[in-house]
């Protein structure tokens, strides 16, 4: 009798333990599934380190290995792999403009059954979820974002010149000219980026147009309802040219602009004495700067202001960027990775390391490692309107021509009309 009861008790204890253990295992992110999941992205260097750190908990938890390939020539490589029948399992696209054609050709898999869209709509502001939708269906999700159109500067260098960052664009231009008169180049700029060289210039032009003509005009331009040689577009180019093609305004002159890599362009700001004072770039440049100059303290040695306003009604309109993650192979590992990446937990990892902002409301502001990124995250959430950069929204063929066009413009500023005419010709082909 006693033995039977004891056996029963032991059995119940064991079963309870099993239930609890099994239940606990099930309720955490994923069971051990092993295998590999291949990811294609543009990152290298410290950005890649951050991505690897972000997926490490996923690898540990599921036993799946994340195989990453990085290239700046992402459109070409992705197309090669898709056409060749061996796409990556997951790709991080910096350009949502490529989504429609990828979805239409069924290269991209719809995510409605993979992700918990109800949960996501609570965690993501609606505009951010819409970015990844094609025809209403979710095909990609923004995982990492950046705020663009920030004028970076070294506060100590500015105070040494007895300057405060202007809040009106015209004033900033006047300041640039004044400094040129004193023999100092006010701006640092670098357009080099391998096959994608020229994209920082497209951010400049995009920002100038957004600030001068507003989000609606920006949309019309991106959709090619406005021609490339139309006034608002042409003016944006010319404003950009005032700085980038003037050897007195930009360090290294136009030659330097073309020959310098984008990630090294702000470094002359920190030379002693500084070779330039301002650099227009997105939030991710902070990471590059801090890795190169370990003594730079955000806030004291490095700060930013939003690009000064041009038209008062469009002040504060944000230009944003992001990496949209999409799934090309429906495998258990790819699904698990997608579910992991959209979570606040995953995104907080990169956020904490710096150089990334998260659209997920679940990531608290104090996860941001310093005062600058916290401010950027705050601005991102409270912007009156936000637009992805035009280069990221246009069809890939148009974007490639846009990038090259800016390189041509910096090299030959007098040929703006011809360059814009050529872009118009490409557009007629690209927007079919």
């Amino acid at each position: 009798m006693a033995t039977r009861r004891r056996t029963a008790l032991v059995l119940i204890a064991v079963m309870t333990l099993l239930l609890v253990a099994g239940g606990a295992g099930g309720s955490s992110a994923a069971a051990k599934i092993g295998g590999t999941v291949s990811v294609l992205g543009t990152w290298g260097g410290s950005e890649l380190d951050s991505f690897r750190a972000m997926v490490k908990p996923f690898e540990d938890r599921t036993g799946a290995h994340v195989e990453f390939q990085g290239t700046r020539d992402l459109s070409a490589v992705l197309q090669t792999r898709v056409q060749g029948g061996n796409p990556p399992d997951v790709a991080a696209l910096p350009n949502p403009g490529a989504l429609p054609s990828l979805a239409r050709s069924h290269a991209l898999k719809p995510l409605g059954h993979v992700l918990d869209m109800v949960q996501l709509s609570r965690e993501y502001p609606a505009t951010w979820l819409d970015i990844g939708r094609v025809g209403g269906e979710p095909y990609a999700i923004v995982v990492k974002t950046a705020l663009k159109g920030l004028v970076w500067y070294d506060p100590k260098a500015l105070s040494a010149e007895d300057i405060r960052p202007p809040s009106i664009w015209a004033d900033l231009l006047a300041l640039t000219d004044r400094l040129a008169g004193r023999g100092k180049t006010a701006w640092c700029l670098g357009l080099g980026s391998g096959a994608a060289s020229g994209w920082p210039a497209t951010d400049w032009i995009d920002m100038l147009l957004l600030r001068a003509a507003g989000p609606a005009a920006h949309d019309a331009w991106v959709q090619h309802k406005t021609a490339w040689d139309a006034p608002p577009v042409k003016q944006a180019w010319e404003q950009f040219g005032r700085i980038a093609t003037n050897p007195k305004s930009v360090y290294g002159g136009p030659q330097g602009v073309l020959a310098t890599e984008f990630n090294e362009a702000p470094f002359p700001m920190f030379a002693k004495p500084p070779h330039c004072l301002f650099h227009l770039q997105a939030t991710f440049i902070q990471d590059f700067i801090q890795k190169q100059f370990s003594w730079v303290r955000p806030g004291t040695d490095l700060a930013f202001v939003l690009m000064p306003r041009i038209a008062p009604q469009y002040a504060g309109v944000a230009q944003v960027a992001g990496d949209v993650f999409g799934m090309f192979h429906d495998t258990p590992q790819a699904r698990a990775l997608m579910r992991y990446l959209v979570s606040a937990e995953a995104q907080a990892i990169w956020v904490k390391r710096g150089g990334a902002l998260s659209p997920n409301k679940g990531v608290p502001l104090d996860a941001y490692p310093d005062v600058l990124s916290r401010r950027a995250a705050d601005l991102l959430v409270h912007a009156p309107a936000a637009r992805f950069g035009a280069g990221d929204m246009m069809p890939p063929e148009m974007t490639a021509a846009f990038y090259k066009g800016t390189l041509d413009y910096v090299a030959h500023p007098d040929q703006l009309r011809a360059i814009l005419g050529h872009l118009e010709a490409v557009a007629r082909d690209a927007y079919k």
Binding site: Q79, S197, G256, A400, A411, A425
Partner: protein, 324 residues
């Protein structure tokens, strides 16, 4: 390790399979009467090579020509529209211009440089060392060469320390020299890319020319010298004509190389700043624009440019055959 196993298997299996193939085929042939056996035998030996060549060279060439007359996805016929693009659009014209520059300058510099070095090196004792040094870049990939020379051409604005060899050397030699971004300014940047190609291939030309020069009959040269001819005249009027066939062979090889240039341009400038050549333009059309028709048309233009080279080769071969 899976890949290693596969490779080891291939290494052992393919020669074994090839040997088995020929043995089996010959055994089958032995069963046949003499006449058909003799007629069939060459084809048995030729079959594997012909099969490979047909699949990887002949069929694709024909298919590309067909594709060049079709649209972006290869679905519909568009006649000569892609060729119109190739000869009218700005990007393609730039690529054509640059390819012509490569054809002329690269070939000319390599042939002249190779011949010059071979001629000079003939007279010194350390000829093997010089030839070895000049030949060394042939062992490198164009990619590695691209890295090496991009570093040589590196630009830093005036006042900053120069890390690129060219700017540094010029700054040291020329008073008041302003550093330049060599790869940025068209059309000179194509010239600087051609320099990279010349650096790689001149060694090849030098080695071939050195061997050819050694084969020039000494009596003819001596006879000319005795007659009072100076070094230059001997070179131009005796030596050059004798090595004519070699010069033609080297020039042919260089023309083909110039037409195919891809890696140097792709790795150093991605075709930016107007440095595109036909091959990079074709790559761009295929993988970025995803326009099968245009990519094929550019490839066909490349092919057409090699037809004169093919014809010349053919004539030389016929000459060879006749001599046997």
């Amino acid at each position: 390790m899976h890949a290693l196993l596969l490779a080891a298997l291939a290494l052992a299996a393919i020669p074994a399979a090839s040997a088995a193939y020929i043995l089996g085929a010959e055994a089958a042939l032995a069963r046949l009467p003499t006449r058909p056996r003799r007629a069939l035998r060459p084809w048995v030996w030729l079959a594997p090579a012909l099969a490979f060549v047909a699949v990887f060279l002949v069929y694709p060439t024909v298919d590309t020509i067909v594709l060049s007359l079709r649209d972006a996805t290869g679905a519909a016929w568009v006649g000569l529209a892609n060729y119109a693009y190739a000869f009218q659009s700005r990007e393609a014209l730039v690529a054509l211009r640059n390819t012509l520059l490569w054809l002329g300058l690269f070939t000319g510099l390599v042939v002249a440089g190779g011949l010059g070095i071979a001629a000079m090196v003939e007279r010194v004792r350390y000829d093997a060392a010089v030839r070895g040094i000049v030949f060394l870049p042939m062992a490198l990939s164009f990619t590695a060469a691209g890295v090496i020379w991009k570093f040589v051409y590196e630009f830093r604005p005036a006042g900053a320390p120069q890390i690129g060899l060219l700017n540094a050397v010029l700054a040291a030699l020329v008073h008041g020299f302003e550093p330049r971004a060599w790869l940025v300014g068209a059309p000179w940047n194509t010239l600087f890319l051609i320099v990279v190609g010349v650096w790689i291939w001149t060694g090849f030309a030098a080695v071939v020319f050195a061997a050819a020069l050694k084969a020039v009959p000494a009596e003819i040269v001596e006879a000319a010298r005795v007659d009072g001819a100076g070094e230059w005249r001997v070179f131009w009027q005796i030596t050059l004509p004798v090595i004519g066939p070699t010069t033609a062979a080297v020039a042919t090889a260089m023309v083909i190389t110039a037409l195919k240039v891809f890696d140097v341009v792709y790795v150093m400038t991605s075709g930016n700043f107007d440095t595109d050549v036909l091959a990079t333009r074709m790559y761009h059309a295929l993988f970025v624009d995803q326009h099968l028709g245009r990519a094929a048309a550019l490839a066909v233009i490349l092919l057409a440019a090699t037809v004169p080279v093919m014809a010349a080769n053919l004539r030389r071969l016929r000459g060879d055959e006749a001599a046997r």
